[in-house]
């Protein structure tokens, strides 16, 4: 780890000001950033911790019935507090990493990082969530811009994520054996006006919606409807020592069908 300054502002405005400095880096739960620093793969001038911003914490329900999660809410809290209103989301949060990760890692950090194998981007995209920042609201469909890339501007902070609650939903991941991140994860969300399916772990472009499955499931919400589909094209899927692109494409269909079967 290289030397850096550390700040822990207590207001959003102070945090934004601190992040305006050259090579400043926001620190949420640090579950990706701290290992990156330890491996000497990043050298920020200062770390701006968001942990003292009370307005970024907590799980609530808004007037539209959406489950709204403050950006620095750890996964363990989401797993506990969203369980009644949005069980599929709570179940996803409860299966990220291990207890240490779940008590430090945050939803805002996960979405801002947009790791192509992370779980939360699938939930946000499949749920048609609204990602709220310090100065705007970004629909999930517009937020994810490819592997480790998002619509966030330099110094922009996610403050809250608002999840419409589907009629039925489920997330199932097939774990990469070493990291236990998603080798392929499928999030299925059935709304009154249609079904959304988001896939994480598989694509070189990061999280994506599997539209063929969405169309089929909107007509017939059953595992058989997915099994009748061809797997998505292997072209553009990640291929590495944990699995070829063909294997990942195959798993997209398998995990989507299983997620549909498990949806509640």
């Amino acid at each position: 780890m290289y030397a850096f300054d550390f700040e822990r502002p207590t207001s959003l405005s102070a945090a934004l000001k601190a992040l305006g400095r050259e090579d400043a880096q926001a620190l949420a739960g640090g579950q990706t950033l701290i290992p990156t620093l330890k491996a000497r793969l990043a050298q920020p001038s200062s770390l701006v911790s968001l942990s003292a911003l009370a307005e970024l914490k907590g799980v609530r329900k808004d007037d539209a019935g959406r489950v709204c999660i403050g950006a620095t809410t750890p996964h363990a809290v989401v797993a506990r507090e969203a369980a009644g209103d949005y069980p599929a989301l709570a179940a996803l949060a409860g299966q990220i990493g291990d207890p240490a990760v779940r008590n430090r890692g945050t939803i805002g950090g996960s979405l801002a990082n947009n790791d192509p194998s992370a779980c939360y981007p699938a939930a946000a995209l499949a749920s048609n969530a609204m990602i709220v920042t310090n100065d705007r609201e970004i629909a999930a469909d517009d937020f994810f811009e490819g592997m480790f890339a998002t619509a966030l501007e330099e110094g922009e902070i996610i403050t809250e994520v608002r999840f419409p609650v589907p009629q039925a939903a489920s997330y199932l991941k097939f774990e990469q054996p070493a990291s236990r991140f998603a080798l392929v994860g499928a999030y299925v969300a059935k709304f009154a006006d249609g079904v959304r399916v988001a896939i994480t772990g598989a694509s070189e472009e990061g999280v994506f919606r599997w539209e063929a499955a969405e169309q089929a499931l909107s007509k017939d919400f059953s595992a058989e409807a997915v099994k009748a589909l061809a797997a998505p094209a292997a072209d553009g899927m990640i291929g590495d020592l944990h699995g070829s692109s063909e294997y990942r494409a195959h798993l997209v269909r398998v995990m989507t069908a299983r997620a549909v079967a498990a949806a509640r």
């Binding site: 054996p177 020592l241 944990h242 699995g243």
Partner: protein, 788 residues
């Protein structure tokens, strides 16, 4: 009923109190006054010409004491190799220099090029990042068969070949073996890979060098399985320090698995630099460094052929193996694919003719050396896989085929030089059938099928050779060391006992089990016995712990030394009771004159030895302390039978281990609970190799899975609860305890069980074209195999 103390008791591991409460003293816990820290600059390319090192920026950074390169190590020798193999043609193996810091070339990613010593660890690391090696990259040699092909780039230009040796065993058998294959009723052949393992001991390596200008004494604190061996190798061959001026201390060590047997460059550097700078110098390996600097294990590519007659009797075995040495010869690397591998190729079976060929190859990868089992897992894996394949081809039950070929009479001289002294392979297989409920498999398979899962059963046997010996034999085979073990048994005046052993405990529980033996011999409570190990200053010269040798060899030395102590104490007791020594019996801590009620307590005798007022000074010396060096007559041969059941998800290829049963014959057992633990850990390691682990290099020599994000270690939820049984006991015939050793068995016996089970599951599930899948059996590999 287990006893409540002594041999056979489940005594709780006394060392765990300090390990579990954070009171262990590991090498990294040692901080010396005035200590400096070193960070190594390591090669990021696998192969290249090293034209220079620019350390000018580093030298100006805060806290820097000195930057060392190879040019600063004049008078320092290369790291020695402890075993010289002779090839098929009678020539010695090629043995290139293994420098402490890279000289003219870099030969693997991770090789140390420069050492930056600073006041603090952070200063050393920051400065090391600014050191720029000038490297002209060369094509890397990674694939073994490619390495020995015509025109391949040379890892070591001066030795003229990447082929370290071409070994044939037994060369005189070759023609007869070929003839047996030519005339066999059936031949089964199998190509397989024994995947490269990264040891991943929980505690990374650490070295602290110290030097006293006043006395001229050097001390090295290091994470080692064998401090005396390090003292000899480093002192005599690398730094030129005689033993009496060099002390090596290996305190609590957090796991070794072989990787801490070897003498590493960092140890030599810290010892050297402490003298050069007249300050203690410390190095703590990061986990990232350990992936690319700890010697790796296994990495064989093999074709094995088995010739059988119509009835399924084994007639001959022929193997052709490429064994990766990596870029340099690590300390015992050449012995692993030869004498620890070829000699075990008979397994548990009567096969009259065997020929083993091994080509050891240099590549631009991390050096490869012994790793839990070392050669024996490689032998067991190929043999037990090809037997399973043969059974399938011949339409025979794999257990019945094994039983038909079991060795049943002992001693048994194999055609590969070793002689098994004892064993009962039918008994362990019978026991396995019982504890694994093999008869109930079909019903369990039907249950799995209802869930849409393919269930498979894998069974195999193993034999291993522990306590490699005797020294005069291993000397003929190329060992440059003896393989005895030592112990001093010191009895204090008030009756307590201290055992100073040359063996080293880094997880095995010697402090408990060795004490149990002494307590049993004398009849005193175990807490009256302490075991000291790991410091050349207070233990007799010994060879350390590896190859499951500690109780069989070190324990035997201890028993011999204790026997001498007891003989002397008996004479003292005889004197005190005015009886003849022949009539004195020692039982329950009391010397008794046979047939009388006259007795004297152990503590009274030991007090007399040190306060010799009423004492036969004309016949014996005062004091009660004896040393023994024990050189075994033969290896010991633990053996057993393992069974594993798996479920394979046909949609994803994911393998779930449903059950694992192990029936082992370890001879006599000192502490059944510790033996259980050793087998449990070994199976976890073997399952890791079978399902999860495996170093992956790309064609340029970069290690692709150099962190836990990509290198999968087994975790608790990957494993079922094991059924472990060691009630089949054929005691070793040639050591005083009748013990055989248990540390490696689990890692040796388990990989073929797992792979046999997965192949069985696929076969039963209709994938009859799948006869083999190379380890690790990851979901993607199993799925790919099912796709045809």
């Amino acid at each position: 009923m287990p006893k409540d103390f002594g041999i056979g008791a489940n005594s709780k591991r006394r060392e765990d109190v300090r390990f579990l409460t954070g009171d262990g003293r590991y090498t990294d816990d040692i901080n010396l006054h005035g200590q400096a820290h070193v960070a190594f600059v390591r090669s990021e390319v696998a192969h290249g010409r090293l034209k220079g090192v620019d350390s000018s920026a580093a030298e100006k950074m805060p806290g820097i004491l000195r930057v060392f390169t190879a040019a600063d190590l004049s008078g320092v020798g290369g790291l020695p190799c402890g075993w010289q193999v002779t090839d098929r043609h009678g020539n010695p193996m090629l043995e290139p220099k293994h420098p402490v810091l890279a000289e003219d070339k870099v030969r693997y990613v991770g090789e140390a090029i420069a050492a930056v010593v600073a006041e603090t660890e952070a200063q050393a690391r920051d400065a090391a990042d600014t050191v720029i090696p000038d490297i002209e990259a060369l094509p890397a040699v990674v694939d073994m068969k490619g390495a020995v092909a015509e025109g391949a780039p040379l890892v070591h230009d001066d030795i003229g070949s990447n082929l370290c040796y071409d070994w044939g065993f037994v060369e005189d058998n070759k023609a007869a073996v070929d003839e047996a294959f030519a005339t066999a009723d059936h031949v089964t052949s199998l190509d397989l890979v024994n995947n490269r393992m990264i040891p991943n001991a929980m505690e990374p390596r650490v070295a602290v060098g110290d030097y006293s200008r006043a006395t001229g004494d050097s001390t090295l604190y290091t994470t080692s399985q064998n401090p005396h061996v390090i003292r000899l190798l480093m002192g005599a061959f690398v730094l030129g320090i005689p033993e009496h001026k060099l002390r090596v201390v290996a305190p609590d060590v957090g796991g070794g698995f072989g990787s801490k047997i070897f003498h590493y460059a960092e140890e030599a550097f810290c010892t050297f630099a402490a003298k050069a700078l007249n300050r203690p110098v410390k190095w703590t390996c990061t986990r990232s460094e350990s992936f690319v600097t700890d010697a790796h294990g296994r990495d064989h590519v093999t074709r094995i052929e088995l010739a059988l007659d119509k009835e399924g009797h084994f007639k001959a075995i022929r193997t052709d193996t490429y064994a990766n040495m990596g870029a340099y010869l690590s300390t015992f690397a050449p012995s692993v694919p030869t004498w620890l591998h070829g000699t075990l190729m008979a397994g548990n079976y009567k096969t009259p003719l065997i020929y083993v060929n091994v080509k050891a190859v240099f590549t631009n990868t991390v050096p490869v050396d012994a790793y839990r089992g070392a050669g024996r897992p490689e032998a067991t894996y190929q043999l037990e896989r090809v037997i399973d394949k043969a059974a399938r081809e011949m339409g025979m039950d794999p257990v019945a085929l094994r039983r038909k070929n079991f060795i049943t009479e002992f001693p048994y001289a194999t055609p590969v030089a070793v002689q098994y002294d004892t064993g009962d392979y039918i008994a362990t297989m019978d026991k396995l059938e019982e504890i694994a409920d093999l008869a109930g498999f079909e019903a369990r398979r039907a249950e799995s099928a209802k869930k849409g899962l393919l269930r498979g059963l894998g069974v195999n046997c193993y034999i291993e050779a522990c306590g490699i010996a005797p020294s005069n034999l291993v000397g003929q085979l190329g060992a440059r060391a003896g393989l005895y073990e030592s112990a001093t048994v010191r009895v204090n005046a008030t009756g307590g006992v201290v055992v100073m052993t040359g063996a080293h405990s880094h997880g095995q529980g010697h402090e408990t089990s060795f004490a149990q033996v002494i307590a049993d011999m004398i009849g005193i409570p175990e807490d009256q016995v302490d075991v000291v190990h790991g410091d050349t200053a207070n233990t007799p010269m010994g060879m350390g712990t590896y190859g499951s040798r500690s109780i069989a060899v070190g324990g035997s030395a201890m028993v011999r030394a204790a026997g001498k102590v007891i003989d002397k104490a008996r004479k003292i007791a005889a004197h005190l009771m005015e009886a003849s020594p022949e009539d004195i019996e020692l039982k329950d801590g009391k010397f008794t004159v046979a047939g009388t009620d006259k007795s004297v307590a152990w503590g009274d005798v030991t007090l007399a030895a040190y306060v010799p007022h009423n004492y036969p000074l004309e016949d014996i010396e005062p004091g009660l302390e004896e040393t023994s060096f024990y050189d075994p007559a033969n290896f010991t041969y633990p053996a057993g039978a393992y069974a594993c059941e798996v479920e394979v998800d046909p949609e994803t290829g994911k393998v779930t281990l449903c059950s694992f049963a192990a029936a082992d014959d370890f001879g006599n057992i000192i502490n059944p609970m510790i033996v259980d633990g050793q087998v449990h850990g070994g199976i976890a390691q073997g399952v890791g190799q079978a399902l999860l682990e495996g170093a992956a290099y790309d064609a340029s020599g970069q290690l692709l899975n150099a962190s836990y994000m990509d290198y999968a270690m087994p975790r608790a939820d990957d494993l079922p609860s094991y059924v472990v049984d060691h009630s089949c006991q054929t005691p070793c015939t040639h050591n005083p305890l009748g013990v055989k050793g248990c540390g490696e068995a689990g890692a040796i016996g388990s990989p073929p069980a797992v792979v046999n089970a997965v192949v069985d599951a696929l076969q039963r599930g209709g994938h009859t074209d799948v006869t083999h899948i190379d380890m690790p059996l990851t979901p993607s590999r199993v799925w790919a195999a099912m796709q045809g």
